[in-house]
Amino acid sequence: MAGAHVHALYRHGDSLLHGLPPHTKIVAAFAFVLAVVATPRTAWWAFAAHAAVLISLVAVARLGWRFVASRMAVEIPFVLVALTLPFFGGGETRELLGVQVSVEGLWDMWNIVAKATLGLLTSIVLAATTPIPELLRGLGTLRVPRVITAIAGFMVRYLDVVLGEFRRMSIAMRSRGHDPSWIGQIKPFGRGIGRLFVRSYERGERVYLAMASRGFTGTMPAAASDQAGAATWAAVLAIPAGAWVVTLAALGTL
């Protein structure tokens, strides 16, 4: 089922985290990431504290480590790039496993890998406990312009449809002897992609007709919004607030 692809980000459950109003989770996740980014790179203990918070959130939401690890895989290309930094950085060098590496580059690598990993883990926790329609509603509640949330909604809605078309086209091509692994056959593949673009464009027109037929005049209807009481806000924001205390302490001790 094509649907599995997009919504693989979400992990169905009924934990405390799943039940929170989506906009409070978005604000908390954003504030938490800012705290991570502001953490000085030499403050090992502060990164450990941030990581401990995220790990306990993953446990509370019962996301499962295998699931989290598979979602983390998206980070691998960035980590590979970061791994080259110690070899190209300038300044003071030292020997590590028989190779001269830049100390500055090592710190850069650590800084990128630690912050990217923690930031990614934060967004995994958010996305895994909040279905996409709720995320969009949460953004709307936070006064993100309706046109932006509408575009994001259309993207999510039609990604599946376009991927489905791509899959069917690819099966049709392979059924008639196309071998996508052979570079000489890149041309029909490129044509196929072009056709997919034209088809998607035509679908866009049909979707617009269907919208106009139901009274669309250029303004999307307002999306529903959520309410969160002071107690909920306080509870949710306690997590990034704690992270900021750690970050500020780390900045103060330098």
Binding site: H7, P131, R157, D160, V161, R206, A210, M211, R214
Partner: protein, 245 residues
């Protein structure tokens, strides 16, 4: 006779490249009727439908819906009165959840709050999809998507429901479910199809269009029995299908 729900008079339409799509079409549909619009591919069926809710404006002739003539200043009211269900439900279900999709039309009509909730609940109940309200459309089966697309149009409380090829890509069970839903809806319906048994089952009256002209308008059973007419307009009953006289 009563004011027709749809009155098409001397309607002609050519595409920008000059190809004539509709030529001098006259058509009346009265309240409570369920009419089939039949014709081969490329006959002008969809073009005619797009005139009925003002997506295309008449170049010649007129379209009148319950006494209101289609013009630039009446097009929004015409679109509320004429509910079109398009062929591919993926084109029609564009909101993140079923509920939001069905609410799209009523919200465009300026409704809010309880009024929207009542309409969405009633429309989803009419097609038997109330349980799916919070699901994203891409998690539904094709037959379910079709039913939600119909609910989205019903929520506008139209005076006539126009369905473009409602049975295409449906398995027999979904097709049967759709039949009972449409038969239960107490409203004027125009069903555009080349599924002739379906037209016979649901619609007492049928209209045949070919090359942009109306070539027949008669009780469906009589029309399907006219072998000469059928052959002349590329209409064929499925293999093994027998009309009971």
């Amino acid at each position: 006779m009563s004011t027709p729900t749809i009155a098409v008079e001397a309607l002609s339409y050519s595409y920008p490249d000059g190809t004539a799509a509709l030529a001098d079409v006259d058509l009346h549909i009265h309240p409570g009727e369920r009419v089939a619009l039949l014709g081969p591919n490329g006959a002008g069926k969809t073009t005619l439908v797009l005139h009925m809710n003002g997506i295309h404006m008449p170049q010649d002739g007129s379209v009148t819906v319950s006494g209101l003539r289609l013009a630039a200043d009446t097009v929004m009211e015409i679109r509320r009165r004429v509910g079109v269900v398009f062929q591919d439900p993926d084109d029609q279900l564009f909101m993140p959840t079923v509920w939001e999709d069905v609410a799209f039309g009523p919200q465009n009509l300026g409704l809010a709050g309880d009024a929207v909730h009542r309409r969405v609940a009633a429309a989803l109940a009419a097609v038997g999809m109330d349980a799916a309200a919070q699901r994203p459309p891409n998690h539904l089966s094709y037959g379910q998507k079709r039913r939600v697309a119909i609910a989205g149009v019903l929520a506008m409380r139209p005076e006539i429901l126009v369905l473009d090829e409602p049975t295409s890509n449906l398995d027999p069970a979904s097709r049967r479910e759709l039949t009972s839903i449409l038969a239960r809806l107490d409203m004027t319906q125009l069903i555009v199809t080349h599924d002739l048994p379906y037209a016979l089952e649901l619609c007492p009256r049928a209209i045949v269009i070919d090359e942009g002209r109306i070539v027949a308008d008669a009780p469906t059973g009589e029309l399907l029995a006219d072998e000469e007419l059928m052959a002349a307009h590329r209409l064929e009953l499925p293999f093994g299908f027998q009309l009971r006289s």
